[in-house]
Amino acid sequence: MKHDIVLAGVGGQGILTIAAIIGEAALRQGLHVKQSEVHGMAQRGGAVLAHLRLNSEPIHSDLIAPGSAAIVLAVEPMEALRQAESLSPQGVILTNARPVRNVSDYPELDEVLAALRAFPRNLVIDAEQMAQDAGNARAMNMVMLGAVSPFLDFPDESLTTVIRDAFARKGPDVVAVNLKAFAAGREAALAVKR
């Protein structure tokens, strides 16, 4: 099994939480994991990314070579497009459609979304709305985790078990909201994944 995933977003949106949950679930299955993260200055509202590599064989590089990622998983549409160069020609691009407009020259959203939908394999969803429907807009990253889940051939429950563990100290209500958000994202992805 091998998965090379590029995660993208804006500092503070929680891509490292997504990466940490996938990484932990992979480790529990005995997979090798490498996860390269951005710390420091860019975390202050700048563009951030993480490279997450999972493999049943030992992994060499911490970085995914441009043009070779199987999955780009983004929580912001312009950031999804920024990482398009990472994607392999057969890869899938999954993104939240809701923009973070903290720059003055943010492009026309419709054009960004159209560019994303032009990829042969894509999923563009309003993860923030779906999270809100699940009970808390801040669970947006769990919607996106759910959206990527069908593309990882993990055993059932392996991700949800880690979600339960990760949010356990915040109480059962928070766990429930996050699981609901995860399920919503997963359902949306299953609908398009053939």
Binding site: E37, V38, H39, G40, G46, D62, Y106, P107
Partner: protein, 528 residues
């Protein structure tokens, strides 16, 4: 044996802990910060009573670590690459005194300058100080090397420089840790007859000769190192020197089956034996190294050498970090073309957080500056460097820790008026206080604005030991009390704050303005 998902920084920290570390000393700096933070969060480090509090700056941290080594215990000092410039005096001379307990000097370089002002390569410093350098290629090696480095340091009685890079420091991998926990060294300072720590010229000369005499042993150590490995290959048209994490990119590019002979290099000085074999058997040699062309330059020599390929010959980019694709391109491997970047993608630089006190300070400063067409504002290192970007465009320089005050003074000496230095509380106690003392001595006509947000914010909110005591420190240094002004940077105080800045900028003498309000990030964290 247990398995953990650890950052390179954390793997090294755990390795040091398992190898009998007694104390870690550090000043925060990306990408090295997580080493100390790991000790601070570790129950095991608490139980073992490991020293794990921040230091005022890297020089102090270096000296504290050397003091612990002097006392016979194993110590580690951690910093980012530019921090070693600050600590260089202590570091270089610790190779002259030699060490007692094992001493690891961990320096995290930042090729591509993700969060730095240059991409200097710390391997040059190890060579300069004539001391060994280790460069782990993986998180597992970072873990394994800690104990090895302490033993090497104690065997050679020299500090060992541990060079990390951003992509190792800030990348997690599964790491196997040992169940064996080494005991800490006993307290054992040198006896009264030991004079080598007293660097009077007569003693220093003897020490320096001894250091020179050790160099053959250092090379022999590199040749015998378990971390340097010669891997033979059938295609000897090209040989490869792969330093540190560049080895992984090579493996990735060739899918783990590099057909060429490879010298995997993780311990310096250069292992002559293996290098001679590579140079002897291969027609040309590609040098892969993250950072500056340190090995390549040595192999090329001052007159150049067409057999040596790398960043200087143009096979690889001269600057920036490597990745598997760049390495594959250097070997002319077949690659699918990349799509052109979309014109819809705009630059998204970092920015001050909503609710950040610096926003209010810069708004007040910008308004006050309207009255002074000739004013120059010298910035410093921290979140507030973002004041250089729109909408503030408020600062003219950002060079190194503490430079704001000293550069403002130098510019004032030349006739610039008003000259303003703007600096954070942690940067001020790191390296700003000495510059301020000069300004006191000459009553320089400068205005120093200290942004006291009670933390070292840029690196994630580490303790800053002078926070809340800025006025006392400045008065103690000798700044006239009447020209030490304080305000709280909040929108409701805007007019009054502008007035304070205006008054002090107009004053033809030294003044300090302290803008004091806690960082919004640390405040939120406390409320959680």
């Amino acid at each position: 044996m247990a398995q953990h998902l650890l950052l390179g920084d954390e793997a090294l920290a755990q390795g040091a802990l398992d190898a009998g570390l007694s104390g870690c000393y550090a000043y925060p700096g990306t990408p090295s910060t997580e080493i100390m933070e790991y000790f601070q969060a570790s129950a095991e480090a608490a139980e073992r009573d490991i020293h794990r509090l921040w230091s005022s700056n890297e020089k102090v941290a270096m000296e504290e670590a050397l003091g612990m080594s002097y006392a016979g215990k194993r110590a580690m000092v951690c910093m980012k690459h530019v921090g070693l410039n600050v600590a260089a005096d202590g570091f270089v001379n610790s190779a002259i005194t030699g060490t007692n307990g094992g001493l690891i000097v961990t320096v995290a370089d930042d090729p591509s300058m993700h969060s730095s002002q240059n991409e200097q390569d710390s391997r040059f410093y190890a060579q300069f100080a004539m001391t060994p350098c280790l460069e782990p290629s993986s998180q597992q090696e970072a873990y394994d090397m800690a104990g090895y480095a302490f033993a090497l340091s104690e065997e050679l009685q020299l500090p060992v420089l541990m060079r990390l890079c951003t992509r190792l420091s800030h990348s997690r991998a599964d790491v196997r840790t040992s169940a064996n926990k080494a005991a800490q060294n006993e307290l054992q300072p040198p006896d009264a007859a030991t004079r080598r720590f007293v660097l009077l010229p007569a003693i220093a000369k003897r020490n320096y000769e001894a250091l020179c005499a050790k160099q053959d042993a250092l090379v022999a150590g590199s040749e015998a190192s378990p971390f340097n490995r010669y891997e033979d290959g059938a295609d000897k048209s090209v040989g490869v020197v792969a330093c540190g994490i560049a080895y992984n990119y090579l493996q990735e590019a060739f899918g783990g089956k590099c057909p060429h002979p490879v010298l995997k290099l993780s311990q310096y000085p250069l292992p002559k034996k293996q290098l001679a074999r590579l140079m002897g058997e291969c027609r040309s040699v590609v040098v892969l190294e993250d950072g500056m062309p340190f090995v390549e330059q040595m192999l090329r020599g001052p007159l150049g050498n067409d057999r040596i390929l790398g960043r200087l010959s143009g096979e690889l980019p001269r600057t920036g970090e490597l990745n598997p694709r760049l390495v594959a391109e250097a070997f002319k491997l077949e690659l699918s073309p990349l799509p052109a970047p979309s014109p819809l993608v705009k630059i998204r630089p970092p920015r001050l957080c909503d609710g950040c006190p610096h926003i209010n300070s810069y708004e007040a400063l910008s308004e006050a500056l309207k009255d002074f067409a000739d004013a120059k504002v010298f910035g410093d290192i921290g979140c507030y460097t973002l004041g250089a970007l729109p909408p503030y465009n408020a600062i003219s320089s950002c060079v190194d820790m503490g430079a704001s005050i000293a550069m403002a003074k130098g510019a004032a000496d030349a006739g610039v008026f008003p000259a303003v230095g703007i600096i954070g509380d942690s940067t001020f106690t790191h390296s700003g206080m000495t510059g301020l003392l000069d300004a006191v001595w000459e009553n320089s006509p400068i205005t120093v604005i200290i942004l006291d947000n009670s933390t070292t914010a840029m690196t994630g909110g580490q303790d800053s030991m002078g926070s809340g005591r800025m006025a006392e420190i400045c008065a103690g240094i000798g700044v006239n009390r009447e020209h030490i002004r304080e305000f709280v940077p909040l929108p409701k105080n805007h007019a009054a704050n502008v007035q304070i800045i205006r008054e002090e900028m107009a004053y033809r003498g030294l003044s300090v303005i302290i803008a004091r309000r806690e960082c919004i990030q640390t405040l939120r964290r406390k409320k959680r």
